[in-house]
Amino acid sequence: MNKIIIIGIGQKFRGDDAIGPEVVLAWEKKHPERAKELQVKISPLPGLELLGLFEDADTAILVDAVQSGAEAGRIHVASAEQLIAFGAGSGSVHGFGVAETLALGRLANPETIPENLIVIGIEAANMDVGSSISVEVRESIPNAVAKLDEIVSQYI
């Protein structure tokens, strides 16, 4: 059986960075039966720990805020390879960013990277500490939930 893990990445008090966990929790609420068949994790700031979260999975779906210069709330679906286009960097190199961590894992521990690794990125507008999710980004939640469910259906 295909082992699937969904990971919502982001910090609650950092504006649109919270959108990853929001989408994953909204999906879980909408599809409770389906959620039981797979693993769902919320990880505020995984850093290098990310590599340990999905090492037993065949398919990992990461939901995270991204900044690519597109309009706020736009939903991107990317493979791990494409993720690099969103740019690495978390502002601190003690805390490795998602793209950088995946690249590092692929080079050093390729056997622990799931066969299918999909990133749903929601374009963020504001990641200021202490702010909440902006309106445009919040409005994208239903579409992001639908996209997540569509991807889960492909792999389940």
């Binding site: 700031l45 850093g47 290098l48 720990e49 590599l51 340990g52 690495a88 502002g91 601190s92 190199v93 003690h94 805390g95 490795f96 950088e100 690249a103 590092l104 894992g105 080079l107 050093a108 521990n109």
Partner: protein, 428 residues
């Protein structure tokens, strides 16, 4: 000839800081390690909190060394209320600390400093040519985080520690499950130490005042008094008066110095130089095998000190897990009363001092924290002053990189250091 070296945002350090050096001819007219990471006010918002909230709040100062912030706070608060912990509690605290040393040192050795020594821009470019090195690093680090998870419920910011001990003891079999990984880690740590002495370190020799904790019968990490290479032992209660802090205009972190105003060094080099005779047997054997001579006075070689401590931490972790038989309650009852207490433990980056005053119900009246990175900032600036004449004839980019490498060799944690801001209000 160039007039300045400027790094607006230092990479491969935790937190936000920059470097500015202005030169006039061959001499330095201005040198600043700018710490512009915003202050975080931890000492302010601890006031009025119940003492059992403190270890979980101070843990949040740092994602790399949360255990250090928990341990210095619980020891200081236990002293404030006169609580005595049991040997079982102390051993488990030492094991938790091993986990932190392992994850922090593995990260710094391989991901943060090694790229400088091997001519790489980052761990990522290093992984492209030496995937096995990075693979070892990831596994070494992960085992440290696993210790934290097993004892503390999660791999960062563990939640099991309280003033008086632990909310509960972990099960014997859960800790024993760690043993195969720990044994692999001990061997890998020894290899790391061997490899650390083969690297090509820049030349530098500094006349440091090394400052670290000391204990009679063990390599001091969890508690102890303060030992200086220049002035000997002082009780931890005198630490603040012997090593005062002051505000510096360009830094949101306080600077520390000794009583004569001179900088001093805390961290792995200070610890290994002062306490190498108390290392665990296999760490000592590696020191002998590698013919290391103390004191090591080259700041870049703090990587070697970290590697020795990695061996020490794995060996100690194995010993504690093998002998783990928790006895007595997991935490002692507290008899709350008005009191004051201070304590220090050795964070991976160096001596971390806390002091607190509590009221009769156990609420915090004052809190004071001296993080190791803040204590080292004046020392880093002095080292840079010493380095500049050596690099001044190099190409600008290369000289800049040498300065950055020197700063990174300290493993500075700027986020930890900027927890504090003095507000000096003058009223007419």
């Amino acid at each position: 000839m160039y007039e300045k070296i400027q790094v607006d945002a230092l990479a491969r350090v935790e937190g936000e800081g920059g470097l500015y050096i202005a030169l006039e001819g061959d001499s330095i007219s201005e040198l600043r390690l700018d710490i512009y990471e915003p202050p975080r006010f931890f000492e302010g918002f601890l006031q009025g909190r119940y003492l059992q909230e403190v270890p979980d709040i101070t843990a949040r100062i740092c994602g790399i060394c949360p255990v250090a912030y928990q341990m210095s706070s619980v020891y200081a608060l236990e002293k404030a209320v006169g609580a005595e912990i049991t040997p079982s509690i102390r051993e488990l605290r030492r094991l938790l600390y091993c986990g932190e040393f392992i994850e922090s040192h593995a990260l710094h050795i391989y991901m943060l400093q090694a790229p400088d020594l091997l001519g790489h821009e980052s761990a990522l470019s290093l992984a492209a040519v030496a995937p096995d090195v990075v693979k070892t690093a990831l596994r070494l680090k992960k085992i440290g985080n696993e210790i934290l998870r097993t004892i503390g419920g999660r791999s960062v910011h563990p939640v099991s520690s309280c003033v008086g001990g632990f909310y509960r003891f972990p099960k014997v079999e859960k800790l024993q499950e760690l043993l195969p990984d720990l044994r692999w880690g001990l061997d890998a740590a020894k290899e790391t130490a061997r490899w650390s002495t083969t690297l090509d370190y820049p030349e530098m020799d500094v006349d440091y005042e090394f400052v670290a904790l000391t204990l009679p019968d063990e390599y001091a990490v969890v508690g102890g008094d303060v030992l200086s290479s220049k002035t000997g032992i002082i009780p931890v209660e005198d630490f603040v008066s012997v090593y005062p802090e002051k505000h510096i205009r360009h830094s949101n972190a306080l600077h520390s110095s000794n009583a004569s105003g001179e900088p001093y060094l805390v961290g792995p080099l200070a610890r290994v130089n002062l306490n190498h005779e108390k290392l665990s047997p296999q760490a000592k054997a590696i020191v002998e095998e590698l013919k290391l001579e103390f004191p090591i006075t080259n700041p870049y070689k703090s990587l070697i000190a970290r590697a020795i401590e990695l061996v020490e931490s794995y060996e100690l972790a194995i010993e504690i897990v093998e002998n783990y038989k928790p006895e007595g309650p997991s935490h002692v009852e507290l008899d709350l009363k008005v009191g004051k207490g201070c304590a220090a433990t050795e964070a991976p980056r160096g001596l971390l001092y806390h002091d607190y005053e509590v009221d009769e119900k156990g609420f915090i009246k004052t809190a004071h924290i001296m993080p190791p990175t803040a204590q080292n900032l004046a020392r880093v600036e002095e080292d840079l002053r010493q380095l500049i004449p050596q690099v001044i004839d190099k190409e600008h980019a290369e000289a800049t990189l040498d300065c950055e490498h020197l700063i990174r060799s300290y493993d500075p944690c700027i986020s930890c250091a900027t927890h504090f801001l003095t507000l000096d209000i003058k009223r007419k």
